[in-house]
Symmetry: C2
Subunit: 350 residues, 2 copies
């Protein structure tokens, strides 16, 4: 029946209802509709109820862009993320989205395959939307962006990194240095003697802090300093670094990798290319506790970051912060070492 089909199509493509349609149906003035949807505007409860009823009947949606113009700030939170292949980043994004949308905000996301692909000029484009706030899930420190945000009164959350020296805002971090220390104690007490450290990207504060805690604690315990390779937080680079470490004649008996993704890649190489039994011939420790760390083929010993609590703190800051931001604030939330088979508590001497 072609006629019925045309009707359907007409129904589907009819245009969205406007505030004037709502005014007409509710039998009120156009300005009453606008007041009904503005927080704190002067309108009687009865009048507002009439407007809401008509709006619901029509499927009218007040234009949030227009509202943002009046208030000077949108309900948009900018998020800069990179390397979603790392499940720490993708899960942080999911947690932030769940909590912020429940609070009536939406996420304007800029994401790149690698941190090095993040273009600062494109991040600055986000600021054109009069953001309510900004979250940095990238490991680099885009100083100019921090400056722009501060100038425009946009509060920034630095997720697992310190506040930029050129900006103001809030930093929520895992105990990166303390985690590194705990891993040093765990390995030394477990009887591991030839240690290696695989660093992340040289710009990454988290990697530097984990390394500082690890090497400082080893020195304090009188252990030899670790052999060092750079995995760059990139899988292919981490695999190459693992191959270099494992091909050495004085092979290490334990590797601490600055994040889980590099630890999983190292396990893959150790098992498949060197025929090593991870947990017996070689201990591997990560940092983060991503979901895959608990898969049976990895069973990764790792320092669990308090991701959900970190997301909660970030959201609390964004929802409560008054613009303009005028301070630097920082919290470090507790994490804990999770011992699985990839690095047992006692070295199995053979």
């Amino acid at each position: 029946m072609p006629a019925a089909r045309d009707d359907l199509k007409h129904e589907l493509v009819r245009s969205a209802p406007t505030s004037r349609d709502v005014a007409r149906i509710a039998g009120v003035s156009h300005s009453a509709v606008s007041r009904a949807f503005t927080e704190g505007a002067s309108i009687s409860p009865r009048m507002r109820a009439k407007v809401i009823e008509a709006a619901n009947a029509l499927g009218y949606r007040p234009n949030l862009l227009a509202r943002s113009l009046t208030t000077g700030r949108s309900k948009l939170i900018g998020v800069a993320a990179a390397n979603l292949e790392n499940n720490f980043v993708s899960h942080a994004l999911e947690l932030l989205c769940a909590r912020l949308t429940d609070a009536g905000y939406q996420l304007l996301v800029h994401t790149a395959y690698r941190d090095s692909d993040v273009k600062e000029s494109q991040l600055e484009e986000l600021l054109r939307y009069k953001l309510h706030g900004m979250v940095l899930l990238t490991m680099r420190l885009p100083d100019k962006l921090a400056e722009c945000c501060t100038r425009e009164g946009v509060p920034i959350v630095y997720f697992n990194r310190p506040v930029s020296p050129t900006g103001l805002g809030f930093s929520v971090q895992a105990p990166n240095e303390e985690g590194g220390r705990q891993i040093a104690r765990f390995l030394v007490e477990g009887g591991f003697r030839r240690l290696a450290f695989m660093a992340g990207h040289p710009d990454a504060y988290s990697s530097r802090q984990r390394e500082a805690g690890f090497t400082d604690e080893l020195a304090r315990l009188g252990a030899s300093p670790p052999i060092r390779e750079i995995g760059d937080f990139v899988v292919a680079t981490a695999m190459t670094a693992a191959r270099r470490l494992l091909a050495r004649p004085d092979r290490c008996d334990a590797i601490f990798c600055a994040n889980d993704q590099m630890a999983l890649a190292s396990i893959a190489v150790a098992q498949s290319e060197f025929g090593l039994k991870v947990g017996k011939d070689l201990a591997v420790v990560g940092f983060g506790d991503v979901p895959m760390a608990s898969w049976p083929n990895y069973a990764l010993t790792t320092y669990a970051m308090p991701l959900a609590a970190m997301a909660d703190e970030a959201v609390a800051f964004l929802l409560n912060e008054r613009s303009p931001v005028s301070e630097r604030r920082q919290v470090i939330l507790p994490g804990k070492l999770i011992v699985r088979e990839s690095a047992p508590a006692r070295r199995d001497v053979r």
Copy 2:
């Protein structure tokens, strides 16, 4: 020097420049500034150059929210995504972001941990921003959302799923059915006889199509129908399904999983819990070719989806589409089978 510090702070928190500041510095009228930043507005090249120079000197950013009000459409693309732990989804998001931001658009992203966590009412909130377009990276079909988008003239891209029966828009897909057929031929020709299929979520069109192609081609070749388990596109469920399959006395010699993530989980279980040599005792085939499929501990045979080409098509549609959308359109782009060690071309009879 406390004085210098206060100066710095004052500098940091000074408010963003306005169009009036630009007018003052450029020595032009306020309306000239607004015309200079409006495409097609009447203004002399000399006047526009003056305004742009003053704007750059001040770091002035035209308010895109205000611009959107005039044009009736923002430069925002909505994206609904779920299960970023699946690298097919996270990589699609990265590709879309790179291409769309290069074209001057920004992504308003709604993401959930699981497809079942996506709240349709929150997706509809995205429409308040007068979206230029919408991309669905979720596997469920939110019919009501499709209806709303169509009514409001927002073009939808259905990524790897067909256009909703209640909506209009553009669908870009991998050859899901054909991929399933190729995998059936590959396994039968390779000498595998006891086949299993692990399905994704029952609502997922892609899983149903892959299964339809697989089972239909097996029947056509006179092979026995596969044993069937449901992995739901969720890692924990897929691991349970793999355990059930592998514990059977008449154990299969090959499993085709409806996506790579479930195939990787099956390999983990087969190796670590059943002591099986994948590629020898058991063949595992996936669908997608996520980055981890090529890791040496998986070496997953899989049907590679044309992800980059799919993102290109999606972006081309979004940039060229005129609102309102008035049709359903669909393209299927070619993929190819990638043979690695997890399922060799010939069964190694022992």
